[in-house]
Subunit: 559 residues, 2 copies
Amino acid sequence: MTAERLIYLPMGGAGEIGMNCYVYGYGQPGKERLIVVDLGVAFPDMDTSPGVDLIMPDISWLEENRDRIEAIFITHAHEDHVGALGHLWSRLRLPVYARPFTALLARMKLEDAGQPTDQLRVVGPRPAISEAGPFRVQFVPVSHSIPESSALVIDTPVGRIVHTADFKLDGSPVVGEPFNAQEWHVIAHEAGPIRALACDSTNVFSPLPGRSEATLAEPIRALVAGHEGMVVATTFASNVARLKTLAEAGKAAGRHVCLMGRAMRRMLTAAVESGVLTDFPKVLSPEEAAEMPRDNLMLIVTGSQGERRAAAAQLSRGKYLGVEMKQGDMFLFSSKTIPGNERDVFRIWNALSVKGVEVVDDHGGLYHVSGHANRPDLEAVHDLMRPQILLPMHGEHRHLSEHAALARSKGISTIIPTNGLMVDITGDIALVAGQVETGRTYLDGTVLIGALDGVVRDRIRMALNGLVMVTVLLDEDDRPLGEAWVELSGLAETGKTGRPLADEIESDLTAFLDRADSRTLTDDDKLEEQLRRIARQVSMEEVGKKPEVIVVISRLTTE
Amino acid sequence: MTAERLIYLPMGGAGEIGMNCYVYGYGQPGKERLIVVDLGVAFPDMDTSPGVDLIMPDISWLEENRDRIEAIFITHAHEDHVGALGHLWSRLRLPVYARPFTALLARMKLEDAGQPTDQLRVVGPRPAISEAGPFRVQFVPVSHSIPESSALVIDTPVGRIVHTADFKLDGSPVVGEPFNAQEWHVIAHEAGPIRALACDSTNVFSPLPGRSEATLAEPIRALVAGHEGMVVATTFASNVARLKTLAEAGKAAGRHVCLMGRAMRRMLTAAVESGVLTDFPKVLSPEEAAEMPRDNLMLIVTGSQGERRAAAAQLSRGKYLGVEMKQGDMFLFSSKTIPGNERDVFRIWNALSVKGVEVVDDHGGLYHVSGHANRPDLEAVHDLMRPQILLPMHGEHRHLSEHAALARSKGISTIIPTNGLMVDITGDIALVAGQVETGRTYLDGTVLIGALDGVVRDRIRMALNGLVMVTVLLDEDDRPLGEAWVELSGLAETGKTGRPLADEIESDLTAFLDRADSRTLTDDDKLEEQLRRIARQVSMEEVGKKPEVIVVISRLTTE
């Protein structure tokens, strides 16, 4: 009988920021009983995934091994940890464990996707234990930028795993549970050494210790109090503590507070309903706010990352829900721009600048703190846990690699487990146990497509190269009937010669058809290939671009 | 007779970083004699300008007023100041004034574009004066991140203008002329008060004084000396001083130095030929470098902004010119990532990380300094010049606005002149004199297209929505001949029903054609509209997307 083993297998989040999905397993090789931790999304961009709505891990492997999976655990309610639940649950149909606030948002995800919610298990924090096959799992409160974030303490037959999920060390997080060093000391020692610490890598390049959410209250209060016109602030909708800090700053300045943006109102409702938020200042509806004197308003709005349809972008463009920003108003980004979103954020900033609005950014941390543990904080956790193995988790390769180097420098055994790499953590050293096929699944409109299906590749090609559509008509004798017809999209109308590009292509195609022999004219593939080649060649000569070409050959048949 | 006036008119660069083009004029309104300062490009991105090669100012207004323009002055050889010269010169056919190094690169631009170069006038620095109608122009050396950068001192009948172009305050710029406070003091006082200071705004949000290029030599030397494997460094090709610092660090560590990337070798050649660079360490050709022991190599490569075809990106993907990076090698970004390029730069970093290469970024300024004046430096220049009017120049709106606020706080009269705003600076206060139509021209392949021509809009739409191409065939009696034919590009193959999307659309289109009345079937516009509507509707139902639709209606005619 083969020895049983303990495995770790990231399916998403280990090679990118976002799209978290991690698997643990215990049992005989290939027969391990499995649990899934998180089922998140990443967000598309025009460079690599134009037109896509959401990016999710490809869970084909999980689907194939569905009968081996005990449960799904959701650590917290950020989109990159729970966002794929609604879209992918029907392929797994497994129990989902989460704490109350997270479960409430997970329930909405399932309901939005038309899925049943009866497999949702609402659990309390440690010492409550969820049994899942060979695993005993406890949710341990950690501080982060959303209420009720949890690390998982996972006890296995060969030792304890700590899966930090996203966390920071915050002794005064405003909303939610503070970092409890004493509790973590107990966790690190009560069950023997920590076999493996799977640890957030997001901020490994931030050299200074992270700062507490509580440090923001006074600067934000002073900023808002010192302003005369309307004040608008944006932050992540899910950062309930920040919403509270901002709302209290507005209230202290005698302003009416209003939340704008569906995600933000939804998040606030969930926080109140689940009991994690008890004393939020009274808020006006947007309709009520629009009736108030504008200088008495404090709006808290969605869209801190420049999302074009969110409230911040709408306000930068003009009137939104009856409110318009003007000269003398102030707009505060109580947020950091996620790399890649700079252009969108600056677009808002510039549009507000044109309106004469004073824009205030995070001022190097004065008005925003990160929700992730910085490098010294990670070191503190390494020192506190003293794990036998460090599994750097959640990050691009450069983050994982840097985090691994940090652990190695402390004499901790480590490895760089990227998506799909199955790691054996049964012993004192992490060993590669295999490679599982992973990838990305796109939600595109209402359907799921594979990232490599070619759909997005074709979109990118059309965007870069433009498109020529060629139609030719052949008669019953396979002779051309009339001239070739060309439509263009995304190409210059005229080129070098000054004549319309479409005409130029048409005349070359027609000339070709007129002299083509019957071997070519009767062979759709050959004909299409030649027509494509000519269309591309004329385009190249005329406008210097090789477009995508779609050829339609219509043949009249004697019926 | 109307009084003569002095005007300032930005055509590019005042509303973006890049694409610099500024106009000064003196004379009776509408008859001012004009000079143009710089003719630069901006770079496209997938979000707003997919497939485009270069972005340039729309110079239609200059073209229309060509007979009023005396000359073009090029302040320095960065692409965003000279890059459009080759592409646009033929529309202006005017003398071009520049200093030797800049002129050499301007000459290459003209030659590459097949333009004559006999209108290029190579001029020396102040006290040399170029007369251009009512203007007397001096090139005054300033420090920046390319050799021979110059501010322009422009004397007019109503006073002196100082046009800083891009600059920093650097007393030891390694290559090129240091900042000379004494000389600037003379400039500020020898000809009465400065009427207007048109001043670089790029770094107005950087709160600390800028640092000298010379501060980098020791840290970079130590970094390179302390490494065992191959060392590769990237920076802007045009930063000749940095190339020298990097090459000398390599030489000091006993390494063979090799430059990779066409732009970099071209820049070095121009610097040597024009005499601005005299003592650059010996460099190997890439062929020679590939033969050397790899641990003795120091490569200096193009691609610091993540450009996919540049040397850095190629090295991150695999072998390039016979060289491949491996575990134990080091890659230095002696550069800062321009906002918007983060994803491309991190793609390289991650790919190198996968190879086990140690990646070093600028470390908060240890291995890179900016070429632009920071906020305190701008204040120092305001104080030194004490202009009557401050014209904030080169920046997005937020930069211009912040720079204007800074000037106002010092009691300097100012305005926010964005592209196309004609400003009257004859008096002590800047007055709006009108609005000129400006915009963007794209180099797309080999042709110039307008940004608003719809070409790029169509590309973006195809990328976001996918494309359906519909072909229908009608006989001599305007009755459908066969079924409708559909081709898809950038759309999921199957949707909700599980049947091919193309088939679903075809069958609905065919059903429509079969029951359509002759009024519809004989009217191309109406028919096309209906077919498009049905194709979009079926797509929406099946895959949740409303695609772009191209309809081709072929009619058999009795000839």
